[in-house]
Amino acid sequence: MKNELFKIAGLSKHYGSVRAVDNVSFDILPGETLGLVGESGSGKTTLGRLILHLISPTSGKVFYNSRNIFRMTGSRLRGLRQELSIIFQDPYTSLNPRMKIGDIIGEPLEVHKMASKPVIKKRVDELLHLVSLPSEFAFRFPHELSGGERQRVGIARALSTNPKFIVADEPVSSLDVAVQAQILKLLVNLKSKLNLTLLFIAHDLMVVQNLADRVLVMKSGKIVESGPAKQVFTKPSHSYTKLLLASTPRIPAPA
């Protein structure tokens, strides 16, 4: 498989004696949505941050387009930030409370000097429309928006530099159930519209099932199961996956 977007090889992150990520290897193919599911302490959040080189590994390599990202410095690393984005979990703390929404969304473009101020303004407006928020939100502050709206801003920010790959780190876990469904629907739309490659991190298997092409299940720093989404859900091979599926509260189908 020579066309993979990412190749993760033997990646480990140890904090003292704790193996947050323990010798993990897998590929991410362009255009696919990969679900990464695990409970607290599984290492999924750490893995997400490693792939974006937001933290450094204890050992192992992450190849992005065949280049080891941990060897990148300076302008190459900056270029990486343009092509790889992240959507954070908590809409209440991931936006700078002192910045206007428009500035928050446009900041990546400003940092990378990708366009002039008027062009950035236009782009911010496009992005707001993309995430179904009104244009005038550009002048508001985060505390004036609801959780769901703030999360949309986080998504718009992640999309601003036209990234090739996005890590969505539990993007709906902090939201009310009804709002979760809306945001998931938005992500499904965006990923096909913009042909994104997505790593969707979640603790709830049910949340990824509509989005993910393939699913990885993590426990204690290791990947215990991986495969096409349907297979993992209907014919799980690992006992932990079976336990996860069994523990999820189900409701009967409405009449």
Binding site: E39, N210, T234, S247, P249, R250, I251, P252
Partner: protein, 254 residues
């Protein structure tokens, strides 16, 4: 056994007074489980806290009555109220980390409940919540235990006074889904063993299925819909309830 009539609770915030609970009425019978479901801000936790008159400034119980075996909790003497709390009615909360005192061992804290309300020994209580290695755990401090174990410890504390009603305020929200399933199973087991009623407060309507007999849906301080748990999933009267059910992710494949 528990009957709430026309309960209203307000919170005095700087800008305005918020009506957190607005004329709510419900009842729970012996041995049955009631689910109170709502999103954040719906007032569900406020109702739960009111049952034991645990609302304090800036909150205030404005009106209504809470009848426990025909006696109004809101008009009880302080002594009777103290006996009731942790005695016949017990409560467990969402975040066991902040409800447990970090400087006392688990054993000491459960012992405190036992001393106040009588009942079994600390180790017996820990055994009844299936705590692995109860004698050793009793000597540990809260931060040395996992989230699931802390929640078990809190349940053990709540059981000390042999309660007839257990109020569980989002007991599993902070826990992993596998632990959540275990804790809910434990609560069901304890319910039949000790013949308790349970009120489960949650934002997750899916939890109610298979756990509660009756359910009440709250929004903005009001009860929007109520009914038997199995009926609600089959047929909903209100649009809001239908929205809540539709929002629950359903299995994509069979």
């Amino acid at each position: 056994m528990l009957k709430i009539n026309d309960l209203s609770v307000i919170y005095r915030k700087e800008e305005a007074t918020v009506r957190a609970v607005d004329g709510v009425g419900l009842s729970v019978e012996g041995g049955k489980t009631l689910g109170i479901v709502g999103e954040s801000g719906s007032g569900k936790s406020t109702v739960a806290l009111s049952i034991l008159k645990l609302i304090s400034y800036p909150g205030q119980i404005e009106s209504g009555e809470i009848l426990w075996n025909e006696k109004d909790v809101l008009r009880m003497s302080d002594d009777d109220l103290r006996k009731l709390r942790g005695g016949e009615i017990s409560m467990i909360f969402q975040d066991p980390f902040s409800s447990l005192n970090p400087v006392f061992t688990i054993g000491d804290q459960i012992q405190e409940a036992v001393t106040l309300h009588g009942g079994n020994s600390v180790v017996e209580l820990l055994k009844s919540v299936h705590m692995p290695d109860p004698e050793a755990v009793a000597k540990k401090y809260p931060h040395e235990l996992s989230g699931g174990m802390r929640q078990r410890a809190m349940i053990a504390m709540a059981l000390a006074g042999s309660p007839k009603l257990l109020i569980a305020d989002e007991p599993t929200t902070a826990l992993d889904v596998t632990i959540q399933a275990e804790i809910l199973k434990l609560l069901k087991e304890l319910q039949s063993k000790f013949k308790m009623s349970i009120i489960l407060i949650t934002h997750n309507l899916a939890l109610v299925h298979g756990f509660c007999d009756d359910v009440v849906i709250m929004k903005d301080g009001l009860i929007v819909e109520r009914g038997a748990a199995d009926e609600i999933f089959k047929k909903q009267k209100e649009k809001y309830t239908r929205e809540l059910i539709e929002a629950i992710p359903k299995p994509r494949w069979k």
